[in-house]
């Protein structure tokens, strides 16, 4: 017999109240998790950022000294600059590379699924000891890259010291991030498949070449995904920790010390939670500003098909 789901006639006020708010009961576990693990630590870190909070000696001073320190301490300002450099190198290159590979893998070529899987694998490896070992093998003085450089130049050039030269070390960790382009590529691939084929047919009839089609049809049609990838990649780049932590440890000479590494060092090596919190908030504000800029600018370059 089919169950009768119609509201019962003559329900008590308590039952009606329950009917109205029972959804909230179901949300309670999530709300508790959010409050305990997100909202409270968020508020606490803001408070701590205005103190000299130390894990073991507590708080003895209140004020903006951490923020003043952050912009006057050369170690921190250098880390901020390095973080900007890292982000401005990795985000565009990763997006361009992911789009390029997605565009190729959108063609009907043999073993396309195997290629898609292969290109996605680096993204799921993340930062691990295995990656550290691999990257060192590739970039050490007599590693794969320098061996190739030597071969190509017939022994005339040895290649730089990637891991020990401060001017090259940042590129080593940038390349790790760019190499892990799989998730952005998958999104681009999905977007490319959503571009109507009739647009290309019309363009072909009108005599447009492949490059013209790419820049006048493909790119405008996938701008919402480019925008999404841009915002998420900016957020992730500013939070990058694993690469420099496992490969260079922030060295040589602090050339790969990103702000997230400093947050970790202040918090868990020096136990200075006040300064660590201030740096985390500075990082948060920077990401906020860049995200706002991206959102504001999207009116000028992002095309949504439901907009007139």
């Amino acid at each position: 017999m089919k169950a009768n789901n119609a509201p019962a006639v003559g329900r008590t006020p308590f039952q009606k109240w329950c009917d109205k708010y029972q959804g909230l009961f179901y949300l309670i576990p999530w709300i508790i998790g959010f409050v305990v693990f997100k909202a409270i630590p968020f508020g606490q870190s803001l408070f701590y950022s205005f103190t000299d909070m130390n894990f073991f000696s507590g708080i003895s001073q209140y004020g903006v000294m951490n923020y003043v320190d952050a912009f006057t301490n050369t170690r921190i300002t250098k880390a901020l600059i390095t973080t900007f450099q890292y982000s401005f190198i990795t985000v565009p290159l990763k997006l361009i590379f992911a789009l390029f590979i997605a565009y190729i893998l959108n063609f009907n070529i043999k073993f396309v699924n195997a290629f898609r899987t292969a290109y996605y694998i680096p993204s799921i490896l993340g930062g691990s000891v295995a990656i550290a070992v691999l990257w060192r093998a590739v970039f050490r003085d007599d590693g794969l890259i320098n061996t190739l450089i030597k071969m190509v130049t017939f022994g005339a050039f040895d290649g730089p010291s990637w891991l020990s030269d401060p001017s090259y070390a940042l590129w080593v960790i940038c390349l790790l991030r760019i190499w892990q382009f799989g998730s952005a590529m998958v999104l681009f691939l999905a977007a490319l498949k959503g571009v109507p084929a009739d647009l290309y047919e019309a363009a072909t009839i009108d005599g447009a070449g492949k490059w013209r089609q790419f820049f006048s049809i493909t790119v405008p049609m996938i701008t919402p995904i480019i925008f999404y990838n841009l915002v998420t990649q900016i957020c992730q780049a500013f939070q990058e920790f694993n690469g420099p932590y496992i490969i260079t440890g922030g060295g040589p000479r602090n050339s790969t010390t990103l702000i997230s590494l400093l947050v970790y060092q202040y918090a868990f090596k020096q136990n200075e939670m006040g300064m660590a919190s201030a740096l985390a908030w500075i990082m948060f504000l920077i990401v906020c500003v860049l995200t706002i800029i991206a959102f504001t600018s999207q009116k000028k370059w992002v095309y949504y098909s439901d907009e007139r």
Partner: protein, 454 residues
């Protein structure tokens, strides 16, 4: 109206109960907080007791601890011990966070300077004198035992004493035509030249990382000037800027004379990898280290089969009129204040370090036992590594200076970002002299609490 419970009613009730349960779980345990502040110690509890213990180390140490814990549980059937262990890398960060959060294990293997860094007022570890009925404190000599007294409390018992000594890979030395271990500074310089000319540019008789270089600098200065690096009780630096610059120039001379590998060369091949995991050490291109005596087996076991047999304990080198070098408590065992069963925790420590059944299993896995009965038991069981024992006896016979607790402060010794690293990176990258970088060192030391009169 039906009295049957509808699915909707059931969900309402389970939702409310679930939420209440979560709230209760988040509320914390009031009784444990109260217990954590207790200082008096009750007698062993009746009934079943659960203890936790943590340590860092390598595989062989993990095995020794686990076997000893099993033996302890067989002897004390009402006590269950749950271990937490890992390698050293990142361990201090984990433990300091646990100490701060009051969630560290009941019994913790601790570094000596942790007592000062994390329990300077006795806020983290209990005074072991309060459990002296269960742990025999008379098994330790006064010196090592007193080294673990902080804030007037016996916060740990020393597991072993340690100091730095040279270890050599004589397989490589023999390849270079050198048959004797270096015993003087001139021997070191000569070895550097011989390695360079006979074996090639990528062979070095010794490797020193940033922190190792600082320890050897202090060793050298103590040999020359015959005084502690700093006053152990007040952390007042005993050396002038000029004297320290002389010590730093000594390290620079080792680089210049091809005795030690320049740091940029090391980073270029290994990034931030530890020396014992580097290809150069494993294959014998780096043929010596200046390490803690207890680290002998770690470095020996890392060598490939062609080189392992040549691993040899060297001699301490006297660089001046005095015998330099310091000894310190390598590690201790402590009971945290959050421990609910300190009496049983003390029994566990006593079993591991003093009693025949435990100490014979632990052997020299944590260094040569500082406990007299523990050492006797380990030796009787043949569980003392002869290499470690030889190194330890040489260190204890030679090194006589004291270490101050700030010397190992994380801001100073941290790999990659510490002041010591910065000083020696600057020397190697920029070709700076000791005088050029001494202020970096002094400023860094002052920032962590040293009193500088230089």
């Amino acid at each position: 109206m039906s009295n049957a419970i509808s699915r909707r009613d059931f969900l309402k009730v389970t939702g409310a109960v679930g939420a209440a349960g979560l709230l209760a779980a988040c509320g914390g345990n009031g009784s444990s907080t109260a217990a954590s502040t207790a200082t008096s110690v009750a007698a062993p509890a009746e009934g079943d007791v659960s203890l936790t213990i943590s340590w860092w180390g390598g595989d062989t140490r993990h095995t020794a601890y686990q076997e000893a814990i099993t033996a302890f549980s067989e002897e004390h059937t009402n006590i269950t011990v749950s271990p937490t262990f890992a390698a050293w890398s990142g361990w201090e960060d984990t433990m300091s966070t646990k100490f701060a959060g009051g969630v560290a294990e009941d019994v913790c293997q601790v570094n000596w300077n942790w007592l000062y860094n994390y329990s300077s007022n006795g806020q983290t570890f209990i005074d072991l004198n309060t459990v002296s009925d269960y742990i025999d404190l008379t098994q330790w000599d006064e010196g090592p035992l007193n080294a673990c007294v902080v804030a007037g409390m016996q916060q740990a018992v020393p597991v072993s004493m340690t100091g730095r000594i040279f270890f050599w890979n004589m397989t490589t030395f023999n390849k270079a035509g050198i048959t004797e271990v270096p015993k003087t500074l001139d021997d070191l310089y000569a070895a550097g030249e011989t390695f360079q000319t006979k074996l090639g540019e990528d062979y070095y008789p010794l490797h020193l990382g940033g922190y190792d270089r600082m320890i050897l600098t202090v060793f050298y200065l103590e040999s020359i000037y015959g005084k502690d690096w700093a006053d152990p009780s007040t952390s007042t630096l005993n050396y002038t800027a000029d004297e320290i610059a002389e010590g730093l120039d000594f390290i620079k001379s080792l680089v210049d004379k091809h005795v030690i590998m320049p740091l940029p060369t090391y980073y270029g091949n290994n990034g931030s990898t530890a020396a014992n995991q580097s290809n150069e050490w494993i294959t014998g291109k780096l043929a010596g280290i200046f390490e803690w005596d207890s680290a002998a087996s770690k470095y020996r076991d890392a060598l490939d089969t062609d080189n392992r047999d040549g691993f040899t304990v060297g001699e301490e080198i006297q660089f001046g009129d005095y015998k330099g070098g310091f000894t310190k408590v390598s590690m201790g065992l402590a009971i945290t204040k959050t421990c609910q069963h300190p009496a049983e925790a003390a029994m566990l420590i006593n079993f591991l370090l003093n009693e025949e059944a435990g100490a014979s299993i632990m052997g020299s896995e944590c260094g040569i036992p500082a406990s007299k009965s523990g050492l006797a038991a380990a030796e009787a069981a043949g569980a003392v590594d002869t290499l470690v024992e030889e190194a330890n006896s040489k260190v204890l016979a030679f090194c006589s200076f004291q270490l101050d607790p700030l010397f190992e402060h994380n801001n100073l010794k941290a790999d990659g970002t510490g002041i010591y690293q910065e000083v020696f990176d600057t020397i190697d990258y920029d070709g700076a002299s000791g005088a050029d970088v001494v202020d970096i060192l002094l400023d860094g030391m002052e920032s962590v609490g040293y009193t500088i009169n230089a």
